[in-house]
C-alpha cells in the first residue's frame, strides 16, 4: 500500500540530515549558548514525544512523567557516583525501573477514567519527590554530584566542546521519534488511538484496552527515563527538585499541547517554540525572578488554545487545507 505520508517522510529525513550536519560546520555547536539551546530543543522534543505516546496517542493524560524522568536521571547518576561505573549501565537500568514503576502505578490508576487518572498521577510526583528527598542512599535532598570525568563517549561527558551532547540528544531524539513513527503505522498505533477514541468500542473489536494502556505507559516511561539519564549527564548532578517536580511534569504537557497533542511533529514544534523561549528568558530575564519562563509559556498556550486547540499542527493543517488547490472534501456528501 502506498501511504499518503510521503511529505512527512521527506521532512523527517531532511530534518535528520540537517541536524546531523550542523555540528560539523565550523561554529555550529561547539561551546556556544545557541548550541546549548539546540541540544535542549532536541532533548525536550524527545521527552515530549515520549509523553505523547501515552497521553497523546493513547489519550491517558499523565502528570506523573517527572517521576520516570527522575528515575532515569538517578539511574545514570547512581551508576557514576555510587557504583563508579559507566552511565551506559545506569541508563538502561533506569529505563527498566521506570517502566516497571509506571506499570505498578498505572495498574490501579487505569481503573480511574479521564480526569481522575490525571489527578492520581499528579499525586504520584509529590510522593516520589518526598521519597527521594529523605532517601540517603540516593543523596537525599543534597542530591548526587558527579566527580570529574574524562571527556568522551565512554563517560558520556564533555566539558569544553559540547558537540557530543548535541549528538547524544540527536540520537535520543531519533530513537524516540523513530519508535513513534514505527508505532503510528502498525497495529499498536491503531490500538492506542482506538482506546483513546472509545475504550468500550475498542474492546468490542477485541482490543484488551488495559493491556494496551499499560504497554503504552511502560514504553512511554522507559523512553522518558532515557531522557532523564541524558539530563543528569548534561547537568553533572541530580537532586529531587531538579528532576522530580511538577514543573518538569508540566513541561512534557505544555510542549506537546502547544505543538499538537497526538501528532508526530507536535512535540518537535512545541519544543522549537518553547525551549528557546525558556533558555533565553532564563539568560536575559532572570533578574525578574524564577518562573518567568513558565509565565510566558502559560500566556502563549492560552492564546494558542483559544485560536486552535490542536496547537501549531492544527494551525499548519488549517493553512495547508486553505491553500491547497484541490480542497479536501471533509465531512460528507
Amino acid at each position: 500500500m502506498t501511504k499518503k505520508t510521503t511529505l512527512s517522510d521527506r521532512l523527517w529525513y531532511l530534518f535528520l540530515a540537517a541536524a546531523l550536519v550542523l555540528p560539523f560546520i565550523p561554529g555550529g555547536i561547539g561551546n556556544s549558548f545557541h548550541g546549548h539551546v539546540l541540544t535542549m530543543v532536541l532533548l525536550y522534543a524527545a521527552m515530549a514525544q515520549a509523553w505523547n505516546i501515552i497521553s497523546g496517542y493513547c489519550g491517558q493524560t499523565s502528570f506523573g512523567h517527572a517521576v520516570f524522568f527522575g528515575i532515569g536521571a538517578y539511574g545514570a547518576a547512581m551508576a557514576v557516583v555510587q557504583f563508579n561505573t559507566l552511565p551506559w549501565y545506569g541508563a538502561p537500568v533506569g529505563a527498566v525501573v521506570a517502566a516497571v514503576t509506571s506499570v505498578l502505578i498505572s495498574a490501579p490508576c487505569f481503573k480511574l477514567k479521564g480526569h481522575y487518572f490525571a489527578i492520581a498521577t499528579f499525586a504520584i510526583v509529590e510522593i516520589f519527590s518526598r521519597l527521594f528527598m529523605i532517601w540517603d542512599w540516593v543523596g537525599g535532598a543534597i542530591g548526587l554530584d558527579y566527580p570529574i570525568l574524562d571527556d568522551g563517549w565512554r563517560n558520556f561527558s564533555w566539558s569544553s566542546d559540547k558537540n557530543g551532547y548535541y549528538l547524544g540528544a540527536l540520537a535520543l531524539f531519533t530513537l524516540i521519534f523513530g519508535v513513534v513513527r514505527w508505532i503510528e503505522s502498525h497495529r499498536m498505533g491503531y490500538y492506542f488511538r482506538a482506546v483513546r477514541e472509545g475504550q468500550e468500542t475498542a474492546e468490542s473489536l477485541g482490543v484488551h484496552s488495559t493491556a494496551v494502556k499499560l504497554s503504552a505507559m511502560a514504553l512511554s516511561a522507559g523512553l522518558t527515563a532515557l531522557c532523564g539519564a541524558f539530563f543528569a549527564q548534561y547537568n553533572y548532578r541530580v537532586d529531587p527538585p531538579m528532576v522530580m517536580s511538577l514543573d518538569i511534569s508540566m513541561k512534557f504537557l505544555l510542549i506537546t499541547i502547544l505543538g499538537g497533542l497526538g501528532t508526530f511533529w507536535g512535540p518537535l514544534l512545541g519544543a522549537a517554540v518553547l525551549i528557546p523561549l525558556q533558555e533565553y528568558t532564563r539568560a536575559y530575564l532572570s533578574h525578574l525572578g524564577s518562573g518567568v519562563d513558565l509565565i510566558i509559556f502559560g500566556i502563549i498556550i492560552i492564546l494558542t488554545m483559544i485560536k486552535q486547540p490542536m496547537g501549531i499542527m492544527g494551525i499548519i493543517r488549517g493553512v495547508t487545507r486553505r491553500t491547497s488547490t484541490v480542497p479536501a472534501k471533509e465531512g460528507d456528501a
Binding site: 491503531y190 477514541e197 475498542a202
Partner: protein, 255 residues
C-alpha cells in the same frame, strides 16, 4: 446446528428486572431477529451476550463454549462482533482506520489487515469515504461503518443493534443488502430491529421480548399472527384492526 445458546438469562439493575429467564437458540448461518417494544430489554440482552454486562444469572454458550460473563474483548476474539445502537465511531480516525482496528484483531500484519478492511469497506458501500474522518459522516454511513468494523473482526456471529433504525429508505435498502451479503459469507446474524420492513423479509426466526420476558419464538410469518405478540408489540388498537382486516380478507377469498 446451534451456534449461540442463551439459557435462563436474567439481568437486573437494582430492583429493575431488564431480562428475566430468557432462553433461545441461534442456528448457525441463520438470521435471527430480536424484536419487542421499547424497554423490552433487547439491548440489555445484547450487552449480556457481548460481554459489556455480566448477566445476573443464566448462561451464554457459543459453539459449545461457555462465554457467560467474559470481558467483551475476549468474547470478540472468540468470534462475536457487535454494533452499537447509538453509533460509536472512533471520531478522530478515518473510515478506513476504524475498520482497520477491527481487522487487526486476527491479523498482526497491517498489510494483511488492510486487505480485509478494504473488503469490508467495499461490502458496506463505504469505499468513497475511505479517508474521511468518521466523526463527520452521515448517520447512514456511520451505521454502515459500525457494521464494517464489526465484520472486519471476521466473526462467526454478528450482533446488530438497530442497524437500520433512523435511516432513509435508500439507506435501509443498502443495509438490508449488506446483511444479505453477510449471510452469503456464512456469518450468523442476531439483530435487534424496530423496522419490520427491514427484518421481515430476511429473518429466519424472530424472538419477541416484552418487559424482559420472552413471549414468542417462531418464524416471522407465525410471529406476526401470534395474538400475544400483536398485543404487546403493535398495541391493542392495531391488533384489533389487524384481526378485522384478516376477517375481511378471508371473506374476500371465500367470495
Amino acid at each position: 446446528m446451534t451456534l449461540l445458546e442463551v439459557r435462563n438469562l436474567t439481568k437486573t439493575f437494582g430492583a429493575l428486572m431488564a431480562n428475566s429467564e430468557v432462553s433461545f437458540d441461534v442456528e448457525r448461518g441463520s438470521i435471527v431477529g430480536l424484536i419487542g417494544p421499547n424497554g423490552a430489554g433487547k439491548t440489555t440482552l445484547f450487552n449480556c451476550v457481548a460481554g459489556l454486562y455480566k448477566p445476573t444469572s443464566g448462561t451464554v454458550t457459543l459453539d459449545g463454549e461457555d462465554i457467560t460473563g467474559l470481558p467483551s474483548w475476549k468474547i470478540a476474539r472468540l468470534g462475536v462482533a457487535r454494533t452499537f445502537q447509538v453509533v460509536r465511531p472512533l471520531k478522530e480516525m478515518t473510515v478506513f482506520e476504524n475498520i482497520l482496528v477491527g481487522a487487526h484483531m486476527r491479523h498482526r500484519e497491517t498489510a494483511k489487515a488492510a486487505e480485509i478492511a478494504t473488503r469490508c469497506m467495499e461490502l458496506c458501500f463505504l469505499s468513497s469515504y475511505r479517508d474521511h474522518l468518521s466523526g463527520g459522516l452521515t448517520i447512514g454511513n456511520k451505521k454502515r461503518l459500525e457494521v464494517a468494523r464489526a465484520l472486519a473482526t471476521e466473526p462467526k456471529l454478528i450482533l446488530l443493534d438497530e442497524a437500520v433504525a433512523g435511516l432513509t429508505s435508500t439507506e435501509v435498502k443498502e443495509m438490508v443488502e449488506v446483511i444479505r451479503r453477510m449471510k452469503d459469507e456464512g456469518i450468523t446474524v442476531l439483530m435487534v430491529e424496530h423496522i419490520m420492513e427491514a427484518i421481515m423479509p430476511i429473518a429466519d426466526k424472530l424472538v419477541v421480548l416484552n418487559s424482559g420476558v420472552k413471549i414468542c419464538e417462531d418464524a416471522p410469518r407465525a410471529v406476526v399472527q401470534n395474538p400475544e405478540v400483536i398485543r404487546a408489540y403493535f398495541g391493542e388498537k392495531y391488533s384489533r384492526r389487524l384481526r378485522t382486516e384478516g376477517k375481511e380478507d378471508d371473506h374476500g377469498c371465500d367470495a
